[in-house]
Amino acid sequence: MSTTETTASGVGPVEGGSYNVDNPAPYIEAPRQRTKKTPKSTRGNFEMAAWLFMRLSGVVLVVLVIGHLLIQLVLDGGVSKIGFAFVAGRWASPWWQVWDLLMLWLAMLHGCNGLRTVINDYAERANTRLWLKGLLYTATVWTILLGTLVIFTFDPNIR
C-alpha cells in the first residue's frame, strides 16, 4: 500500500513541490486559449480555396498518376524499358511535356498543402510550425522550379 500512496499523490520528493489548499498545482491549460490577444483571424477565402484545390487536383491526379504509372511501370515491357532514350523520346512530344508539367505542379502543390494541414494539426508549438512549414515551402518551391526547368530545357543530345 505504501507504494500506491506515493503514486496516489503523484509527486515524488524529487519534484519537490508539495501542493495544498493554499498552494495548488497549476492547471494544465488548454493548448491555446482564445483570448482577447488572439489575432482576430483571417476570414479570407484561402482555406476554402485550399480545400477545393485538394479535391479538384486529386481528381486530375488520379488520371495523371495512374496513367504515368501504367506507362512507366506496366505497359510495353515495364520498368526494364526505362532509360535515357525512353525519357528523351517521350519529352519530344509536347503532349507528354504538358502531362508531366501538370503532374509535377499539381502533385507538388497538393502534397505541399496536404503536409501543411498535417503540420497545422500535429505541431504544437508556434516555433515548430514555423520551421516545419519553412522547410516544406522551401523544398516545394525548389522541386517545382527544378522540375520545370528540366522539362523546358531538356536536351536529348546532351553527352
Binding site: 503514486t7 496516489a8 503523484g10 501542493y19 494544465i28 486559449q33 483571417t42 482555406e47 494539426d121 504544437e124
Partner: protein
Amino acid sequence: MATPTMEKADAAPEPGFADSPYITVTFRVRRFNSEVSAEATWEDFQLEIDPKERVLDGLHKIKWDLDGTLTFRRSCAHGICGSDAMRINGKNRLACKTLIKDINPEKPITVEPIKGLTVLKDLVVDMEPFFQAYRDVMPFLVTKDTNEPTRERLQSAEDRARFDDTTKCILCAACTSSCPVFWNDGQYFGPAAIVNAHRFIFDSRDEAGEQRLEILNDKDGVWRCRTTFNCTDACPRGIEVTKAIAEVKRALITRRF
C-alpha cells in the same frame, strides 16, 4: 416461533434467488486535485452494481458511499442537460446514458474527463473555450425586422425539417472534445459550434446565415475539419455531426460561386 418463511430465509436461498442481479465491477477513475498534486492518477473502485444501471449510478455509489471527494458534473441524469459527458472506456459518452452491461463490465471501466479542455478537478473540465466558440457563431435568431413581431413566424414542415437534426444538440461537448483537430490547439471552432450554426443557417426564418457562414469561413472554421467522424460517433443525441459540417462547407462553396 419461527414462521416457515423465516426458516426458508435462514436456509440456502431458493433456486432463482441465488443469482442476484448484482455483479462486481471495477471503476478506474482518472483523478486530479490541484491541491494535492500536479499529476492526474488512476484510482480503482470496486462496486456491487446491477449491470442494468448506468455509469452515472456507479459514480454516485462511489461519491455517496466510498469517496465523497470524487468530483463530476451531472444535473438531469436523463440525457437532457448535457452536463456529464466523459470519456468512458476511451469513448466520449454521457455517463447517464451508458448502461454498465453495454460496456464490458468484466474488465475495469475507465472513466476520464473529456479531452482538450483544462481539467479543474477529477472529471470536471473548464468548458469556457467550448462555449466561447458556441457564442461566436451567434446561436440565436437574427432578423432584419427590428420591430416587435406582431404574429408568429410561420414555417412550412419541410423548412422545419431542413435543420431538424441539429436542433437536438444539448451542448454536452462530447463531439468537440472527441475531435483530434480540436485536441491539438483548441482554436478550431469544433463540431458543436458548427452544428449550432447549422441550426440557424438552414432555418428559413433566420436572416444572418451569410454572416454565420462568414464566421465559419475562418482559418479555424469548417475547413479545419478532416472528416474524421469522431464527432458523429460521440454524439449522444445521434446527430449526424459530420454531415452537418459538410452541409455548411457546401453552402459556403455554392454561395461563393
